[in-house]
Symmetry: C2
Subunit: 246 residues, 2 copies
């Protein structure tokens, strides 16, 4: 499985994804699920993916290949050329439909789901940062100030903490910390989500990747978060008044 | 949807269930999902249910009707007569199969899932307390010291906290508190789970319901738990060191 989250705030966007892919517990591999398309100073686009690995990789490959023309110049109709994040979301949806139209019938014949879901976000010069969720059918929704984050994959374990902390006004560093805490909860309760975690911070109007960090197995900061959080939760729990029975 | 939990420990068993049933957001009703079969001093059996309401109610009704013979005496082959919790689990599974055999085909014809899942636990004199999860197919598994709790319904939101706190050695009052905290997290993130919550505490060898409590909307203790927990979580979160970027 997968766990990916991204939240857009007044300060920018934080993206995070795990790297575990499994086709059963005896076939677990590490595949990054974070892909960045960047023209520093002009645009920064990040995609997180969940679902059929063949489909997600094909979509990403096609977006890359088609971002340039044969002469090496930028394709105005590609992910590095379009002027609006909205148009990029349409392009991702169309590319996804194209891959599913090509590979879906053969997979469906063997009962395999070809579907995948993307979180797509970033900023193109002249626009504010925008964040989209692209569904397996190729349509999409956009995050707004009221609901400013998307999760894909094993999202339920980590949702309660994000619901408590993350709003459109939350500082980017707190969003990043909260998302890592939500990964800690998810990984504790679900073996199919695992390190390494890719974390990307994008500051509004920087038009380039502002921060990037990979948390590998044994990362001291992630271990610190995990320890602080666990100890703190148990302390708070001990402070909650005991149940009074009738 | 539904959220039900039960955990067996060296001190006894705690059961909890929400009371929200929905057939779409415009058809939400309150139905208790906790049923108790008790012969004080001899046995205490509690069942929590999730899934098709018609099926769960039929199973419970049949167990009740068949617990006595026509002359009002206890049926030795019924839920109040069997000598082992294991046999009760078999009976629940068989009754579930019987109802699904009767109602399932008509429901399946309209694309409705007739299935339901039960958490079944308690103690019969001469045995230790036992806790089972009965699947829609009528088979079942039993909680052991290593994995001493079961959840059914919307279980993922509340799982991380239970995983942190509840072991076979945890005092019953802490188990009850932790389960209420897990309800608070679940209800925050999922509208389809809601108050009232039924909570039942069973102390080992008491052979009767030891504690029972219903938390209605606005219950002051539940509001206190919820407030303490929320404030405490945010305080711990603020103490976790900030993310260091590369």
């Amino acid at each position: 499985m997968t766990y990916c989250v991204a939240a857009v705030t007044k300060e920018g966007i934080v993206f995070a994804s795990d790297s575990r892919t499994n086709g059963g517990v005896d076939q677990i591999s590490v595949f990054g699920k974070m892909n960045v398309f960047e023209s520093p100073g002009e645009r920064m686009i990040c995609m997180l993916s969940s679902g059929n690995l063949g489909t997600t990789q094909s979509v990403i490959s096609l977006l890359h290949i088609r971002s340039k023309l044969d002469d090496g110049s930028i394709n105005a109709a590609g992910i590095l050329g379009l002027h609006h994040m909205y148009d990029v979301a349409v392009l991702v949806g169309q590319t996804l439909r194209e891959v599913i139209a090509r590979d879906g019938p053969s997979l469906a014949a063997d009962g395999i789901d070809p579907g995948c879901t993307f979180i797509l976000g970033g900023q193109i010069k002249g626009e504010p940062p925008r964040l989209f969720l692209v569904y397996p059918q190729g349509n999409f929704i956009e995050a707004m100030a009221d609901t400013n984050y998307f999760q894909i994959g094993e999202r339920k374990y980590g949702k309660p903490m994000i619901d408590r902390v993350v709003t459109f006004q939350t500082p980017l560093k707190d969003v990043a910390k909260c998302i890592l805490v939500s990964f800690d909860s998810t990984m504790r309760s679900n073996l199919s989500v695992g390190l390494p975690i890719d974390l990307l911070g994008y500051a509004v109007d920087s038009l380039r990747v502002t921060h990037r960090r990979r948390y590998e197995e044994g990362d001291p900061y992630f271990a610190t978060i995990s320890g602080f959080w666990s100890t703190g939760l148990l302390r708070v729990f001990s402070e909650v008044p005991d149940v009074t029975w009738n």
